[in-house]
């Protein structure tokens, strides 16, 4: 079974992002970048499928600027077999990411695509569902457990009321949630080995897909700051404030 893992280069979740000077967009100059945490989980799951003898090959793919190779190398060091960078300097919407991914899925004859449930920078939570739609495949979002037997997958999903278990036939698209696994740290020898794994770079323009944005950012601003609060000395004082000052108890 051939597995495609999609990983995204995002701003490090620990960095506070601010608007640029004319508030037309966000300021990402010199911001530390990282692999989207949900994509680390997707990569880990693929590697476990290979270790379990279920996956035969893991291809890791990203769409983005040249530097996104760093995130591919990280995934290769975790255990993916080869990488594909679809290079573009444009920030593409999930719809266009999904369209490019669908092409690679066809070219590489992929059986299972693993993605993160959402990107931690934009919180879109769309790409996997869109890819499944374009391919007309079954989808399981927010996976916290996978069980693959032959061409059937049983997936436990994290939903608002707890968990939901569904079945899918392969080929399929699965997006990974936080509790699916704990991603490994790549060891130094594996980081060295990953430098020699194949990594193909293709310009996005080669795919002959219209990648025009449908959504335009008009304005970016920081949220309103909350007024400073006060410290209370005791539980009694706290309850008093909530009852009399705020009227919320």
């Amino acid at each position: 079974m051939k597995v495609l893992v999609m990983v995204k280069r995002v701003t490090d979740p620990n960095v506070t992002i601010r608007p640029n000077t004319d508030s037309s967009d966000v300021d990402l100059n010199n911001v530390k970048m990282a692999m989207n945490p949900f994509c680390e989980i997707a990569t880990e799951e693929a590697v476990r499928l290979k270790e379990a003898g279920i996956a035969s090959e893991i291809i890791v793919m990203t769409i983005g600027e040249k530097q996104s190779q760093e995130q591919l190398r990280t995934a290769l060091a975790m255990g993916a077999d080869r990488g594909i960078l679809i290079e573009t300097d444009a920030t593409l919407e999930p719809l266009n990411i999904a369209k490019l991914a669908a092409k690679v899925v066809e070219q590489e004859q992929i059986d299972l695509v693993l993605l993160g449930k959402q990107s931690s920078d934009k919180d879109n939570n769309q790409t996997g569902q869109m890819l499944a739609a374009i391919k007309d495949w079954g989808q399981a979002t927010f996976a916290s457990k996978l069980d693959i037997k032959d061409d059937k997958v049983t997936v436990t999903r994290e939903v608002d009321t707890g968990l939901q278990v569904i079945g899918l036939n392969l080929p399929a698209v699965i997006t990974c949630d936080l509790r699916l696994n704990t991603p490994r740290f790549a060891s130094l020898p594996n980081i060295m080995k990953a430098k020699r794994k194949p990594l193909e770079i293709k310009p996005a323009a080669d795919f002959a897909i219209d990648l025009t944005s449908r959504i335009k950012m008009l304005h970016a601003e920081s949220p309103q700051v909350r007024e400073a609060g006060e410290m209370v000395g005791s539980v009694k004082e706290l309850i008093e404030k909530l009852k009399t000052v705020e009227g919320v108890l």
């Binding site: 879109n124 869109m130 707890g162 008009l218 970016a220 539980v235």
Partner: protein, 308 residues
């Protein structure tokens, strides 16, 4: 403009977030239809017909919509999508699972989790873990939108919409519902409760959460948790509040043994009054709290329960 809203419900009852989504749709303007897809969902449909401001309730009642399987519900929506200028859903697990699939079939983008309607094509949403509010304009012919419930007030329920049933069945047979492992919860719904009391990693284990539950039961609150508490297995995933969990904005949010990471704040910082109880005076949560109490939870919680 004609707007289609995909209702969130459990077949018996409508979920409150549907009402907030109706308010967002009313801000856009135009006629509103509401779709109820499910199995034995007539009771939820009758409830939906009472929402003020909507025209019609479209009901698709079939076993293939059990569990809101995205493939089937999307195919159902596609069968009527061409009639609408906007297709909206609350940004629940179901809304997020279904609408992007519909959008890709329509070859349009999605605006996820909007927090304000500026005009029929311009909306605001929060990105970068709540550090940026972006104003976005869509040029798509059909706008597909999920709505953050806490950002809109709930619509009233004194209307009388007409009902129509959608008889054609859309069973794509791509996925199969196996079961729901629903967490039975007698307390108020996290996303609509007036008071939320959440515990973090400092709670140490699941048993200690009963201290929060006892207080919650006295004041009619819902109980939430941080990702750290869920990851550690103290409590189930449906209790996670934050950027990648549920977004809440109650009148009162009490954060107990929670440090105040930006990803947690993203899910609760719009609460009206925030209380933090933490034994570390330097915990970042205190910068966001209206009232901070530096205390050990094992002292403060029993005292709080006693006093209420």
């Amino acid at each position: 403009m004609t707007i289609l809203i995909i209702a969130e419900h459990d077949n018996t009852n409508l979920k409150d977030m549907t009402l907030n989504t109706v308010t967002a749709a009313l801000a856009i303007g135009g006629d509103i239809d509401l779709l109820i897809a499910g199995e034995n969902c007539q009771s939820a449909a009758s409830e939906a017909a009472r929402i003020s401001g909507i025209n019609r309730v479209l009901v698709a009642d079939n076993a293939c919509y059990k569990g809101q399987l995205s493939e089937n519900v999307s195919a159902l929506i596609m069968s009527i999508a061409a009639n609408y200028s906007h297709i909206m859903a609350p940004s629940t697990a179901n809304g997020k699972n279904i609408l992007p699939r519909v959008a890709a079939k329509l070859d349009v983008s999605v605006l996820s989790d909007i927090i304000a309607v500026e005009s029929p094509d311009t909306f605001k949403r929060s990105i970068y873990a709540g550090n940026i509010i972006a104003t976005l304009q869509s040029s798509d012919a059909i706008k597909v939108i999920t709505v953050r419930g806490t950002a809109f007030s709930p619509a009233d329920k004194n209307g009388s919409a007409t009902m129509a049933s959608l008889e054609q069945v859309h069973d794509e047979a791509l996925s199969m519902f196996i079961r729901d492992d629903t967490v039975v919860n007698e307390r108020a719904e996290l996303t609509s409760a007036k008071i939320v009391i959440s515990g973090g990693r400092g709670m140490q284990n699941g048993e200690n959460f009963s201290m929060l539950e006892q207080i919650a039961d006295k004041v009619g609150a819902a109980v939430g948790a941080t990702r750290a508490a869920v990851d550690a297995g103290f409590v189930p995933n449906d209790m996670q509040v934050g950027q990648t969990g549920k977004i809440v904005a109650p009148d009162l949010y009490v954060a107990v043994a929670i440090s105040g990471a930006v990803q947690h704040l993203a899910g609760m910082k719009e609460s009206k009054v925030i209380v933090a109880i933490n034994k570390d005076p330097d915990a970042p949560i205190f910068q966001w709290a209206d009232y901070g109490l530096i205390a050990d939870l094992f002292d403060a919680l029993p005292e709080l329960e006693q006093a209420l």
